[in-house]
Symmetry: C2
Subunit: 111 residues, 2 copies
DNA sequence: TTATTATATGCCAATATGGGAATATATCAA
DNA sequence: TTGATATATTCCCATATTGGCATATAATAA
């Protein structure tokens, strides 16, 4: 078998920077495809293709308005990623930073 | 051009469930390749290949010990993912949950 | 109807998988 | 040295992209 499809799950969907960038833009509110095209500087088909992937995994929702299509973020779909990564949070935050600071202080005192 | 390599960055590296599973196992401490093979139920080459990808992006570190190789997690490498996802955290936690609870309460009172 | 605008889809070429099996490399034992 | 163990790499194959370009579809305007 080959690599899993980008539409397999949210983890695969957010692997591409362009798709993450779209989510980042939508975080500020709804945008039409053309507005996304302008802000991303990509060709329209490429933007539509990315939106298709994001829609398949539920990361964005659509609202039809005449011939325009307004996309908006569905942040909740990112929760599985957040839940997974949260287990590792402790490996770089407070506790360990505090330990680093302590070790640094002790190191300084030795001079 | 084709799809970006899995070794391009951490986002691509963690897109595959098998690689995430390896990280999860290593979260409990160092493991040799064979120990991982046993726990994962995968063929040895497949495990080595995944470890190779994880090593390329800095997610695991190796310690040589005779003919064994002990891999351990380098959780800090996950920070970019955490930093990115954190921006969306508010979309499903406290504030929104609190709003949900409130709406639910109001709904209950109507009975 | 015809033209125009907004968006989606199809086709093509190049490429990076990921699984299985075989094999290479390294270390240790007898 | 020879054999066995631990791990990495290579080869083959089927597949899923991704970009660019052309085109189809839908809605609206003239």
């Amino acid at each position: 078998m080959a690599r899993a499809a980008t539409t397999t799950d949210v983890f695969n969907a957010i692997a591409e920077p362009g798709r993450r960038q779209i989510l980042d833009l939508l975080a500020n509110g709804e945008l039409s495809v053309n507005e996304l095209v302008e802000q991303l500087g990509l060709a329209q088909p490429q933007v539509s293709k990315r939106l298709h992937v994001l829609r398949e995994v539920g990361l964005v929702l659509v609202r039809d308005d005449g011939r325009q299509r307004h996309y908006r973020l569905n942040g909740r779909a990112l929760k599985p990623v957040h839940d997974w990564i949260r287990r590792y949070e402790q490996m770089w935050n407070d506790r360990f930073d505090a330990l680093d600071d302590l070790l640094e202080e002790l190191d300084d005192q030795e001079d």
